[in-house]
Amino acid sequence: MTLRDKTRASRFFNGFNRIVRGNGNDQTNGSRPPVDGEAGGLAADVAEQPVQPQVRKTSTLNPSRPEHFDVIVVGAGPAGSAAALVAARAGLKVLLLERGEYPGSKNVSGAAFYGSALMHDLIPNWWEQAPVERSICRRMLSFMSPETSVSLDFRSTTYAEPPYNGFSILRPTFDRWFAAQAEAAGAFLLNAAVVDDVLWEDGRVIGVRVRREAGDICANVVIACDGANSFLAKKAGLQREFHTHEISLGVKEVIGLDEQTICERFQLTGDEGVAIEYLGAITDEVHGGGFLYTNRDSLSLGVIGQISSFVEHRQRPYELLERFKAHPSVAPLVRGGTLREYSAHIIPEAGWNMLPRLYTDGMLVAGDAAALCFVAGLYFEGINYAIQSGLAAGETAITAHRAGDFSAQTLAGYTALLRQRKVLTDFERYRHTPDFINSARLQNLYPAVIAHGAERLFRVDGRGKQKILPIAWETLRHFQVNPLHVLQDLYRAGRALGW
């Protein structure tokens, strides 16, 4: 971006902010995020922004000739910031719009971020400057019955070495840091800007409508990274309405616990962290699971359930969360902690089967907005795919910019980049997995079968020892499992995760 462009863009902001904020204070940048503890929002910004003496014309907001950007990115989550960062680095004039007070303020996930190597390519040794919690060196998968749990426990010291396998993060701090990197690369970040619609001209997207006076802003390419609900993808006709079985609701608590207790309780050294996923009785009949991640001095834990099964079984998510914390194998882990924050968010879980059309003339969709959440039993990932897709979208915008052609034909290169970055290939390869993971028997029956079988296997009661097969047979009979169903499910498990 040239200096002239920069001046023009900042003039645009000045006019824009003046109208929005209803005061005459001129500012060089409307995107300063409020610091922690500050009463944020527009009113606070108005109160705290220093009055600067420069006087600039407001005529840059001429409604007949709206301000024009090369790229508008809607949503400053991981996908949006990645797209804005890469496009800004290439010298494009980028506007990054965020509806919250600051990036991350509306964002919730577990959160485990398994994209460290990817981020390292983008920002070398990023972990030295970013707000990360713990490097995840231990993964556990637990199958639960009401009284028991059977776990797969994996740990590796190699995951604790750069570039690391993954980190636990807190989204409000992580997303804010990442958006600041996009800003540092030259993107303009505008907070507190909710986008209501895309603008059309001759059948192609030419900009967005921000819910403000004179809020129409034009760009050659709009990249919708507006999250799981993505009203933009729907308004552009790229995504359909969702079914209740495709979307899960996660409710979560961050529970404060001192650092030393966390290390001792979870057998961790220094900055090491653990990510535990739970399947089975903890969500009762609701199809879903639980999670627990260690942060530096807190735990992030929650339950996730298909919306359809919350409705079907008349369960309330926060009551399920309380039952999860009370489970005999979870309660000792959270003991003595204090609640810091309760939050909730939806997760597009159906993977390949709910991907939208990813582009149209003048527009691309990335991240959760493109339903790129990878929920596959062994994997619970989304932030890495969000960043990959954001980068692919940003790169596509750069190619289009250089060609001076923003038609769907040029933007179709996005899908090739998504394959090159292994996003679409992963989702296609695991296209049968979400259905399998959310099937009734896997959710409600088999975790109990495994737990019951293990309970028999390890019990010593003087009745003599059985070998594994008789115990398995007896357990299956106890739960009245149809052996044909087991065979069928073994095949489905294989298709989902095996081959």
Binding site: G104, V210, I307, R314, R316, Y318, L339
Partner: protein, 94 residues
Amino acid sequence: MVRTTFEEKMRTPRFKVDDQPHIVVHAEVCHTCSVRACVYVCPANLFVPLDDGGILFNYEECFECGTCYIACNEEGAIEWSYPRGGYGVTFREA
């Protein structure tokens, strides 16, 4: 064990309330609805069934997750958009 009540949970996020509700419920649909999905799925318990068959709702402590309108898709009683920029929920730890 860290048992917390619903009220304790709801005290933790910060809400900056917009004077314009971002959720509109078409009550006439609710009177004929037997599913009442919104009552169960909302993580902030913002929908309360009334004796007369209607639904009482509150948009002020909304997490903006969208679960209610997705759950109500078939019935179509809930009109939902985001609150004005800078308003609504702000998470600091999530």
